[in-house]
């Protein structure tokens, strides 16, 4: 019988193999002896491990966030009105909305003015000039007249000569309040001063407990409300218009239709009669509710995005839009674009949009009095969007741009064509062949003839002194 035993002799091991004819049996060595004869360093290692574990077994989780800090600022009416003018070209610092007409780009510099860019060669856009307009956030161009807001006023500029742009008309005190990037402003009706807020981006780090730390809330809802008021049989104004309008993004608050400029501020729709484009006149005002964000004209309808829902207005009588229905949703911000009988609404959290939803809603609007949700798709932080069917472009803020094939409304998320995530995307304008995109990093122009792989044609970067990127 092969017996293998192993034991100590004089602190040396003696190994007896199986084929040895003489196997010297030694009694089984006790566990105690075995443990004792283990080398000291082993015990040391164990003690060290235990000691180190006391202080070292602590999780370390650091949360980094960038947020906006608001500081109040006071501006007098004179400061605002007299500070208007044309300047030399500036770099993009805090770009807002974009607008295009006849190969020219108008890029808003938030609260500062408008950059005029010659984009007739999309591969090499050229900055032409800068119009200084305090408190500017939106613009629209009809023929050769540029309409821009300047805090509480509406200003019309003659842009027939882009190198010599001059203001030709100003309507005072038509906008009582507004907001830029979450910081709201209002006019003090007694003094005429504007109380505004300056925004600083602050970065901070905290040690967290490595958990998600959220309490489930049940207050989010997605109900539908509809308004079956019958429409008045007012005839449309008809006639062929010899006017040309530019194109705005989905985040726009200005829209042109027929002989009117439609502007939305936080609670109302203010119309301007622009029958004579150089002489805008204040028109009707329609109360909309609260938290109004964007306006999108489609055919003879107006789609208005607000924090409580998407409003659909009938614009057959352009001087008196009438509400048809409201598609309500959770309290978030939402731009909207429309194609055919579907409306695409993005909902996002953050800033003054207090909800926590981030999604894309596809709404069936074949019956405008009864908009119906087709499907909701979760998104990261969607901002503006653009549709050139079947291409659907969604700006995901700091998370970039996503391109979808929207031909199947039930499976948009499964048809993601491309995700460019190394840019900041705020809003887009699809122009058939090229896509104009604006974000915090700059202005980008893409060729989307192959929607699976957008080709960057040109870029105007943001050059911000000492900012948090």
């Amino acid at each position: 019988m092969n017996q293998i035993v192993w034991g100590y002799k004089d602190r040396q091991t003696i190994f007896f193999g199986p084929l040895q004819p003489f196997a010297v049996e030694m009694g089984p060595v006790s566990i105690k002896q075995q443990l004792i004869t283990m080398k000291y360093p082993l015990y040391l290692v164990l003690v060290l491990l235990l000691g180190v574990s006391q202080s070292a077994c602590t999780d370390k989780c650091t949360e980094t966030r960038v947020f906006k800090r608001f500081t109040p600022v006071l501006l007098t009416a004179n400061q605002i009105r007299q500070n208007i003018g044309t300047e030399a070209v500036r770099t993009l610092q805090a770009p807002g909305k974009i607008y295009t007409k006849n190969g020219f780009l108008f890029i808003n510099e938030i609260k500062e003015g408008i950059h005029i860019v010659d984009n007739r060669n999309p591969e090499a856009p050229k900055m032409v000039s800068f119009i200084r307009i305090p408190g500017n956030g939106d613009m629209a161009v009809r023929n050769n007249i540029l309409y821009a807001d300047s805090y509480m006023d509406l200003v019309a500029f003659d842009i027939s000569d882009v190198t010599n742009i001059r203001p030709i008309k100003r309507i005072n005190n038509v906008f009582p309040s507004g907001q830029f990037n979450g910081g709201s402003w209002f006019v003090n009706s007694v003094t005429g001063d504007v109380h505004d807020q300056r925004i600083d981006y602050v970065k901070d780090e905290i040690q967290t407990n490595c958990e998600e730390g959220i309490n489930p809330t049940n207050w989010m809802f997605n109900t539908l409300a509809f308004d079956s008021r019958s429409m008045s049989a007012a005839p449309s104004t008809g006639g062929v218009q010899q006017t040309t309008n530019g194109t705005a993004g989905s985040m726009a608050r200005f829209a042109l239709y027929d002989n009117y400029l439609y502007t939305v501020n936080s609670s109302e729709l203010q119309l301007f009669d622009i029958q004579n484009p150089a002489e805008p006149k204040t028109g009707n005002k329609v109360q909309l509710g609260w938290g109004i964000e964007t306006i999108f004209p489609y055919g003879d309808k107006l789609f208005i995005g607000s924090q409580s829902g998407m409003h659909i207005y009938d614009n057959r009588n352009p001087q008196k839009p009438e509400r048809m229905s409201v598609f309500e949703h959770a309290r978030v911000c939402d731009p909207v674009v429309v194609h055919g009988n579907k409306a695409y609404v993005t909902l996002r959290s953050g800033t003054n949009c207090q909800g926590f939803t981030n999604q894309l809603d596809v709404v069936d609007i074949s019956n405008l009095f009864r908009p119906k949700l087709i499907k909701s798709y979760p998104m990261r932080n969607p901002h503006g969007l653009g549709i050139d069917f079947p291409n659907l472009f969604i700006c995901e803020g700091a998370y970039g741009l996503k391109t979808f094939d929207a031909s199947d409304a039930q499976n948009i998320d499964k048809n993601l064509r491309e995700n460019i995530d190394n840019i900041d995307a705020y809003d887009v304008i699809p122009l058939g062949k090229s896509l104009l995109l604006i974000g915090r990093d700059g202005f980008y122009q893409y060729d989307y003839s192959n929607p699976r792989k957008l080709r960057l044609m040109s870029k105007i970067p943001v050059q911000r002194p000492g900012a948090v990127s």
């Binding site: 293998i4 035993v5 192993w6 091991t13 190994f15 060595v29 566990i31 075995q34 283990m38 082993l42 290692v45 164990l46 491990l49 180190v52 574990s53 070292a56 077994c57 602590t58 999780d59 370390k60 989780c61 650091t62 949360e63 980094t64 966030r65 960038v66 947020f67 906006k68 979450g182 981006y201 905290i206 040690q207 967290t208 407990n209 490595c210 958990e211 998600e212 959220i214 959290s349 953050g350 800033t351 003054n352 207090q354 926590f356 981030n358 979760p378 990261r380 932080n381 803020g397 700091a398």
Partner: protein
């Protein structure tokens, strides 16, 4: 005299298969908040792991490992490689001590996070020491003590007035595990 025939090529020696399968707990703490307002919480999480490989020498075994660490806010699956080195001399004794070193990458394949949270895995390091009880060559019981370091990154949803929010995590735990090994 060795006659060389075409069949007498030396085949690579079949290396014996080893398996170390363990289950246990990850113990540690986390300190959050600010300097003057500290909050300390104790953490206990489940860990399982299996390492399958070969015994290279009498003392050294190497293998590929797959595990599951179920942290409170992330279910990570470390995959990687590990070494098992026997410290006590190889013999017939019923007890032996070994040192282990594992390294890998934590995958988030099985992880599910709340809306707006996106977890990305990271490096996993796990040096330790263990005890094998049982006859060598047969199935043995394992008792291991190790230090597990796991990194992860999480994107968090934005709240009011935030434009960016993410978290870098480093889990540092004491792993005490029981297992079997062959």
């Amino acid at each position: 005299m060795l006659s060389l025939t075409s069949e007498a090529q030396t085949l690579p020696k079949r290396l014996p298969f080893v398996n170390y399968t363990e289950v246990g707990g990850l113990f540690g703490r986390v300190i959050s908040g600010t300097q003057n307002n500290k909050v300390v919480e104790n953490k206990t999480n489940l860990t399982v792991q299996t390492l399958n490989g070969v015994k290279l020498t009498k003392r050294l075994a190497v293998g590929a490992l797959v595990g599951l660490d179920w942290y409170n806010s992330a279910l990570l699956m470390p995959v990687g490689a590990g070494l098992r080195f026997q410290i006590t001399r190889p013999s017939d004794r019923n007890v032996s001590v070994f040192a282990s070193t594992d390294a890998g990458y934590g995958l988030t394949w099985l992880n599910k996070s709340s809306t707006g949270y996106f977890v990305k895995g990271g490096l996993m390091l796990n040096p330790g020491i263990g005890l094998r009880l049982g006859k060598p060559g047969r199935g043995c019981l394992l008792l291991t003590l190790s230090y597990k370091h796991q990194q992860a990154q999480v994107e968090k949803p934005l709240r009011w007035n935030e434009v960016m929010r993410y978290e870098t995590r480093q889990y540092n735990r004491l792993a005490i595990r029981l297992g079997i090994s062959i």
